[in-house]
């Protein structure tokens, strides 16, 4: 196996693994993988949705 083949295989594994890991990590942290216009939102929409709040 040539060095370039090893480099390409490692790079592909890292890219695919990285993307999958990031998606799982974000999901666990409650973040959405979306965000176009809401990319600046500091709070996850799911978290906000559960914001019932209680007046006191």
């Amino acid at each position: 196996m040539q060095p370039i083949e090893i480099i390409v295989i490692v790079a592909c594994v890292l890219i695919v693994g990285g993307v999958i890991f990031k998606a799982i990590y974000d999901k666990k942290k409650g973040k959405s993988s979306c965000c176009c216009d809401c990319s600046k939102c500091t709070k996850c929409y799911k978290k906000d949705q559960n914001d019932g709040g209680e007046n006191n």
Binding site: I4, D48, G53
Partner: protein, 747 residues
Amino acid sequence: MHRFALAGNPNSGKTTLFNGLTGSTAHVGNWPGVTVDKREGVYKKFDEPIAIVDLPGIYSLSPYTPEEVIARNYILDEKPDCVINIIDATNLERNLYLTTQLLEIDVPMVLALNMMDAVEKRGDYIDEKALENRLGIPVVKISALKGEGLDKLMERAHQVCSVIRYGKTVIEDVALKHLIGDIKIALEGQGVSNPMFHAVKLAEFDEIEVLMHKDTVNMVEAFKKSHQYDGFGDDFEALIADARYKYITKYFSPTLKRKNKEKFVVTPSDKADKVLTHKIWGIPIFLVILFTIFHLTFSENLFFLGGLLPEGWVSFEGTAFEGVFGAGGINSPGVMLMSLVEILTTFISDGVATLLATSPEWVSGLICDGVLGGIFAILGFLPQILVLFLFFSILEDSGYMARIAFILDRALRKFGLSGRAFLPMIMGFGCSVPAMINTRTLADEKEKIATVRVIPFFSCGAKLPILTAVSGAIVGYFGVGNVDFITYGMYLIGMITALVAVVLMRETTLKGDTPPFIMELPAYHAPQLWNLVMLLWDKAKHFIHKAFTIILASTIIIWVISHFSFSWNYLSDDLMHQSILGGLGQLIQPLFTPLGFGSQLNGMGWVFAVAAITGLIAKENVVSTLGTLATCLIGTMIDIESDGGVGAVSIMIANTGITLPALLAFIAFNMTTIPCFAAVAAAKGEMPNKKKFNWTIVFWVITSYIVASALYLIGTAWWTAFLYLAVAIVAITIIKFTNKKREKIGK
């Protein structure tokens, strides 16, 4: 860290002020209801950073809408150190209504008179000192758009944030004031914070307060029995609202000195609205504007000059500019930029291919055909996406988008749709996710569910490459129409599908009254350049980020499983149909046979089937998958080499034997089927329960199948249109009959 909350009416400029204070680029729209949730940023100009919270726009602190509940809960529960009440100074009296409610909360406050530039332009004057004395809180004149007065505003807010302020009410009616005073004492005795606010709300019989302070409600009820007011009876909410407005008119209105004493002045916006929101011409004008946008983005024959002017006048055929400016006509700005990107991507592809000339076949195949073929097929569309969104942003920023909701509300109210539901639908042109989140502003749950379900039919930016790539193939292969016409037509099909689907749902499973729609039409103004630049920058950044993460990973996976067999042997391009992907694709391709891109394509249907399925991850994947597979397959189909990209997709499509109706069905299927993972997750979050969400998935699958198969069958055999018509008439008759029967039983 201190926390300052921005509160104010919808479209009063809160988000513009938020961006100005925090340096953020949160989406600003010239229509009410852009912000549906609170968001946070940091103001860093003081020694100590200050958290700024942008609350959704509200008209009152009564729990009529989800935004009002969010804002109310935040101010009462999270107890910000200061509330900056931003008001549209051009509508002083109406905006001060909310101020009178905020004043009742025990929180330091500052009043920001926004849009002072517009007030001064009119020649009007506001005496902020008199207003300040009357309100008892600092008043600062600002222009959030121009960044004027922001430092002074923050200084005043910083000064008052450590000073305790107790709530006070503006209600002057003696008996009512007495009642509020008694309730306040009772609540103080119970240790309730913000007693003045809760006392007034209890007097109003606010539903949240009634549930929370059951013991004190009796006091209000007893009072109600003994007091009946002229005109209002025992409607204390209306009575208190009237008391607030009386106070505003008596004490606050005199602080505004108008140059023009006439009460109603016809503004340029009013004049423009006479035409743009005309009851007959409003919708045709909207359709013409929409077509113009598509023409300027996708046309290869700008303003149809190629056909109108003598041959050779505007042709760049055979010159160095042919690729960019077009042959036989001038390219639209979108196509010109796209051609430039294609020149660049071709240069890179050629360079990489030369570099990898001596490397093993699979390495060059993976990098050149797989990765570059897929990524460049998508990146080529970035300029057109940006041009399209530039035009949409101009429409939004100018205030025209709000008018569209108004026009459509008038036209479609009788079908069970309110104009409010159209605002998130229109946002769907950008991205389905924020559009679905925006449906939280819809108070009616059934209307909200129906809206979430049809938002994906408003083609988002990610679906644009599918439309353009396939439309390009249609024009190139079949010589039919222009790309701009086809793309525009498919957008319209998506919108019509959405409308028909909502009407059907509102007549059957989601039956209910059309909620009232009251919306303040913002004044037209010139779009802000910085706003547009930031919006496009965000869009480009997001697109490129996605291209080099999800799509890059997908292209690698697609290439690998399309070049290895189930027994993990490497397969060359001409044996791809024996690969894992080919096998799976051939397994599912019969599902797409009724849509025209399945088994009938002589073993090539799997390519389209696989592309449609990968689109479920992200819609850009449809074209990147086609790009990857096309770059590999072209050499096996015809005797030419391709540099990949969108050109390869067109060539491959042309050689699969697919028909024109099937290509249109392919676009329609991808436009209306289950959206990307992110949008599905957003839809799940907005649905009231799992059952409704599961039905939403079923709805998407069935709708896409019906729309795509109708296009394919009617396009293939025109007479089948009568069959569809007959089915539609029968369905409508059954629905009408059933509804009438139910109404009779109900009576």
